[in-house]
Amino acid sequence: MGPNPKMRKEFFDSTRSSPFPDEVLERVLSLLKSHKDRSAVSLVCKDWYNAESWSRAHVFIGNCYSVSPEIVARRFPRVKSVTLKGKPRFSDFNLVPENWGADVHPWLVVFAAKYPFLEELRLKRMAVSDESLEFLAINFPNFKVLSLLSCDGFSTDGLAAIATHCKNLTQLDIHENGIDDKSGSWLSCFPENFTSLEVLNFANLNTDVNFDALERLVSRCKSLKVLKASKSISLEHLQRLLVCAPQLIELGTGSLMPELTACQYAQLENAFNQLKNLSTLSGLWEASAPYLPVLYPACTNLTFLNLSYAFLQSHELESLLCQCPHLRRLWVLDTVGDKGLEAVGSNCPLLEELRVFPADPFDEEVIHGVTEAGFLAVSYGCRRLHYVLYFCRQMTNAAVATIVQNCPDFTHFRLCIMNPGQPDYVTNEPMDEAFGAVVRTCTKLQRLSVSGLLTDLTFEYIGQYAKNLETLSVAFAGSSDRGMQCMLEGCPKLRKLEIRDCPFGNAALLSGLEKYESMRSLWMSACNVTMNGCRLLAREMPRLNVEVMKDDGSDDSQADKVYVYRSVVGPRRDAPPCVLTLSGL
């Protein structure tokens, strides 16, 4: 051998290709937080794959049926935190039957064996039972963070189990779920010596909680940073809570129904005055004008104001916005009208996100709400806007073109013209040019929801220009299969495509054969796809799960609802009778 025998010996003895010891590699990789980065890193070589697997503490599973808990546990032995998503997004809008699946329990059983020290669980659109919550509470002694969003199948009894048994709980975030709200007694289940809570969100529950228990809880949890109370908490209660917790960073008030004496009002104002660190304010149920000023002292540092449950008028909104110079995110009801949105444009130069929800989405007599004028006004004043969700009853191509010219940095553009298939109300033309302008101008666009009268031209534009688009929602749009083909052929980063009530058939479905494995999922309902088309898809692409749900009374050959997703574990075995699993195997 030559000079430096020692070094060469080490090399020759080494069975590794990497020059770093494993520990160093793991340490370096543990600094990577994004799961996309980690996935990429794991493909470099076997050593990196292993090092990444050992250092991954948080696992994100975007579709619970794409993988099994056993596979996850085998690959990632040291996971402390799991995010799990289940049902297709359209289940939020009643398009998916209740017993569809996405049961979290099998996951918990595996986790109890493989990750006994699991600390965090964040679930979205999963079916969660009280038994599962109790199982969770009992089997994971280090459990700290529970977040449930859009889940269903559980009741407040399950929450009681969590409160009773999770001695190290720091976060309990119960957000917009289909929960059976039996009673508020769960809150009283936190033991008297329990002090670790940092986040408590029970804003969407209705039943009364024992206020004294809540007050004691808030007083003894000195690290509490987020408190989002439900409607049952009155102003008087709120005042007492704020006195206990001036350190709050996020507050969801209870009901703002007027019922205070002058003295109580002054006390409440004082309490809000103590909230120097508040960055998020929400709740404000039944907010009424006389009581809004009580909030003003706490608004100076607000970055996120969620008024989506408060029926405010334009002048009330304006007065409130004047108090919030640093506002970056704003959610409102369309009761504020275009005038209210003008106030947004005038008062919120730093605004990055705006969501306007309809107060009366189903009332045909409604003439108020917001129009293109409001959106335009915001775009002139808020040039940093990059996330918008906008429900309106009329829109024009010209307005949208101007809006994106003013705000070219949109990453999320979700426009919902509530009347399906409605054209530009001024020109009576389709809204193709509007979305064409969006995708041409907003090169960073990641998420798009289209609406209004749209021909295939819209999808040609999308396919041609939306190179960063990852999520696309389409409803009541398109003229022919070509529309869908353009989307599938054109958008290289497309991950989630959800389509309803469009004239796309088998040819369109099958044009995406090569695409679906690079996507998380495809949903098509009330389109033109047949069972045969789905069977062909399933046969050609065995690594895709093709699931069909049929509507009562529909033609045997029609595939009314189709859900296609990639999976490494093959067809699921827990599908209910109404879900037909078409497998190529």
Binding site: F11, F12, R16, P19, S39, A40, V44, F90, D92, F93, N94, P97, E98, N99, G153, E176, G178, D180, N204, N206, K231, E286, P361, F362, E365, V366, I367, H368, F391, P420, G421, N428, S449, L453, T455, N468, A475, F476, G478, S480, R500, D501, P503, N506, S511, L513, E514, E517, S518, N528, T530, N532, G533, L536, D551, D552, S554, D555, P576, P577
Partner: protein, 340 residues
């Protein structure tokens, strides 16, 4: 893993690898859209394999044609009018003086309009809310005869109630607009947000757990009352409640003001006609905008969602009020007729 001999060859390559790796990690920091990252994206296939788009598609298309997978009539070559044109037509007709169509998912709130107008008839099927497994038929909006050909829903399931036909627009659409349950209930009743429970729990659907108490004062009576609007479902019931609440108090007031001459036999006159201006008193309310409104103009559920307090005023004073604020213009006349 690698054997002895391989390592010898691997030496120069190892050193080459290092700067590349750093490069990759560096790229990650800087730009998200680098092509390197693209190559490393997790795929289910072998890395580096480029699915040959063109070839497979041709193969598939020939397969499709040979198996005749367009038997449902939706042949690519068949030209059917674009939905755009038809919706165009539909919308134009709609604009001839009719209001925007509703999109109800819960049949309970307002009556869905029919869609059985001639020539524009749509195969509309009302969909039940919170459905069990396997829903009823889907509503179709694009109306054209050709559309029926390629996607014929069973007409037998048409279950649209023949109610007040205000428009020829399509019927209720499930899941549209795309709003979560929590927001749907906001307008219909300001006091309840709970989502209907899972059917398997066999619990009755409780849409309200809390009453909606509003103050009610009567002119000339110093003591006000509180009334739970959730306990009533119509203006008539509210009206009789007003009578019950204040009859005694009013009588006592009249007695005391007539210098203590107590007529024990008179329990007090009934308070009637508060809704139509025919009685001595009229019922008004203050809404969430602070405006004072006559009770009875809007549908009950709308009233409940906007009322903040009630007042019983002398009818003579009420006539001085204008017959309604801007709000009333929003409500079409037939609602007023329905309630009288």
């Amino acid at each position: 893993m690698e054997g002895f001999s391989k390592n010898v060859e691997a030496c120069p390559r190892l050193l080459d690898l290092i700067p590349k790796e750093r490069e990759l990690l560096g790229d990650r920091e800087d730009e998200r859209s680098s092509s390197e990252e693209k190559k490393l994206e997790l795929r289910l296939g072998l890395p580096g394999e480029d699915w040959p788009l063109k070839n497979t598609r041709e193969r598939h298309e020939s397969q499709l044609n040979s198996f005749g997978y367009f038997t449902n009539g939706n042949n690519q070559t068949q030209k059917f009018p674009s939905s755009a044109e038809n919706s165009h037509v539909w919308f134009n007709q709609q604009q001839k003086g009719q209001v925007a169509p509703p999109f109800l998912t819960f049949p309970s709130s307002t009556t869905p309009p029919t869609a059985t107008a001639p020539q524009q008839s749509l195969p509309v099927m009302a969909k039940e809310s919170s459905q069990p497994c396997c829903n009823k038929a889907v509503v179709e909006l694009q109306q054209c005869a050709e559309k029926k050909a390629f996607s014929p829903p069973a007409p037998a399931n048409t279950a649209v109630p023949n109610s007040s036909q205000k428009r020829t627009a399509p019927g209720p659409v499930v899941g549209w607009p795309p709003i979560r349950s929590f927001r749907k209930n906001l307008a219909s009743s300001s006091g309840s947000y709970s989502k209907p429970t899972v059917e398997s729990l066999n619990k009755p659907v409780e849409t309200c757990k809390k009453g909606l108490f509003v103050k009610i004062n009567m002119e000339g009576v110093p003591i006000g009352r509180k009334v739970d609007l959730k306990a009533y479902d119509s203006y008539e019931k509210l009206s009789s409640a007003v009578d019950e609440l204040f009859r005694g108090l009013l009588a006592a007031q009249i007695d005391s003001s007539s210098n203590g001459i107590m007529n024990k036999q008179e329990e007090g006159k009934a308070i009637t006609g508060v809704l139509d201006g025919s009685g001595e008193y009229t019922l008004v309310y203050e809404d969430n905008e602070g405006d004072r409104m006559l009770v009875g103009d809007v549908p009950w559920h709308m009233f409940v969602s906007t009322v903040k307090r009630l007042r019983v005023l002398k009818s003579s004073e009420v006539s001085a009020l204008s017959r309604g604020s801007i709000k009333q213009e929003k409500v079409p006349g037939n609602y007023v007729n329905k309630l009288r």
